[in-house]
């Protein structure tokens, strides 16, 4: 009987803990938004973060986009040619990239490339008592450290997703038109005929903004609440990738159902 009641108590503690965590997470979002005034007073801080999170992620995003485009071109051609509709290859590549793959894969890579570095940086600042030192000097660490990083991530993510989609379409074009020999005119014409600027492109941008907010906030929260030990920081980094990726995939389902479900 004893282990059973202990298991119940543990389950209760885990549930309570995760609800408290969710509350603190949302409260952090509110605090960051409320203290965002510094973005306009010192825009240099944000541009420094965009440079760190965006420019440095550009290469991995562009290369991944190119290869995803290659694969879409090959696999799409294989399936479409069975039904004699290879002309729709451009449409298939463009729709998959702008609606789903662009925002989602970019967000997953962003969580791995930029989110982890954010978490580790803030966690180590906490472990090295830099955050405590700021508080002693009456500098608000939320405002000075977290707010610029948050906005840096929110700005960088849609830009990266758009670059990913563009490079991916070019990759699909390289494989489809240059290598396999689909007619280039039909490739682009089918694409322009089927991709709607509002329904597909703009909704993809909205998705990438939502993912940017989610991933960046999860990374900041994990770093901010990390235990100030080497082990704590390493756990927080893992949590960023796991929770960030799961949140992106889950949110993607909800957003897709909201935007495209009819």
């Amino acid at each position: 009987m004893m282990p059973f009641s202990r298991a119940i108590a543990r389950l209760g503690a885990i549930t309570q803990g995760s609800i408290i965590g969710l509350g603190a997470f949302i409260r952090l979002l509110g605090t960051l938004l409320a203290r965002s005034g510094i973005v306009f007073r010192r825009p240099g801080l944000v541009s420094q973060q965009v440079h760190f999170l965006g420019n440095h992620s550009l290469l991995i995003i562009a290369v991944s986009g190119l290869f995803v485009g290659f694969v879409l071109g090959l696999q799409g051609y294989y399936t479409l040619s069975r039904y004699g509709s290879e002309q729709a290859l451009g449409l298939l590549v463009a729709l998959s990239l702008t609606r789903e793959l662009g925002p989602v894969v970019t967000a997953l890579l962003f969580a791995g490339r930029a989110g982890t570095s954010l978490t580790a940086e803030i966690g180590l600042m906490r472990a090295g008592e830099q955050i405590a030192a700021m508080e002693v000097m009456a500098v608000d660490p939320l405002r000075r450290v977290l707010v610029p990083r948050f906005w840096g991530g929110v700005i960088a993510m849609p830009v990266l997703a758009a670059v990913f989609s563009m490079v991916g379409i070019i990759g699909g074009w390289i494989v489809g038109v240059l290598m396999i020999g689909v007619d280039p005119g039909i490739f682009w014409a089918q694409m322009q005929d089927g991709v709607d600027v509002i329904d597909d492109v703009a909704n993809g941008v909205i998705k990438s903004v939502v993912f940017g907010i989610t991933v960046t906030l999860i990374a900041l929260y994990a770093g901010w609440t990390a235990k100030p030990t080497p082990e704590g920081v390493s756990r927080a980094t893992t949590r960023t990738v796991v929770l960030g990726s799961l949140a992106v995939l889950g949110l993607d389902f909800i957003l897709t159902a909201l935007m495209f479900g009819n």
Partner: protein, 160 residues
């Protein structure tokens, strides 16, 4: 790295994002097909719209001359009504006929205009009186089946 150099790179980064979005909108998307040319509106009633969609092209001799701007059901006439936005550069005679056609076997549907011989031209708000509804494949198949069944009916009916 100096502040200016970093700001320059961030500027380039954001610019690249804007270029990518413009590429997606113009090269991959249909923004370039949004025409800002002035248009006039013409109504057309059909018994069956088939799968005609909003913003479907209106073509004459295969050239796009306008777009479908609204599709609704007219409860007075019990017919579907389409409003066509036709570019002002193109004028059509009053007895022009409109038919719902399909591009290719599985393509999207569009409205084809065949000009008539009248001297009067269609004005803004006019109605196209000669219309031909969409061809519904199921109806065609059932017609074909019934006609072939009635032709071969007596001979192939089971003998007692």
């Amino acid at each position: 790295m100096s502040r200016e150099k970093m700001d320059f790179r961030v500027g380039l980064f954001v610019l690249l994002g804007i270029v990518a979005l413009v590429f997606l909108a113009l090269r991959a998307g249909n923004l370039s097909s949004f025409s800002l040319a002035p248009t006039y509106q013409v109504k057309a009633y059909f018994d069956n719209m088939g799968g005609l969609k909003l913003r479907a092209p209106v073509k004459s001799s295969g050239v796009v001359v306008g777009r479908v701007s609204a599709i609704r059901f007219d409860n007075q006439r019990y017919q579907a009504m389409a409003i066509l936005d036709i570019e002002r550069a193109y004028v059509f005679p009053d007895d022009t006929s409109a038919s719902i056609l399909t591009s290719g076997l599985l393509g999207d549907q569009y409205i084809g205009l065949t000009p008539g011989g009248d001297d009067k031209m269609l004005a803004d708000g006019a109605e196209i009186t000669y219309t031909q509804s969409a061809v519904v494949l199921e109806e065609l198949i059932s017609k074909f089946l019934y006609s072939s069944a009635s032709q071969s009916g007596p001979s192939s009916s089971p003998q007692p």
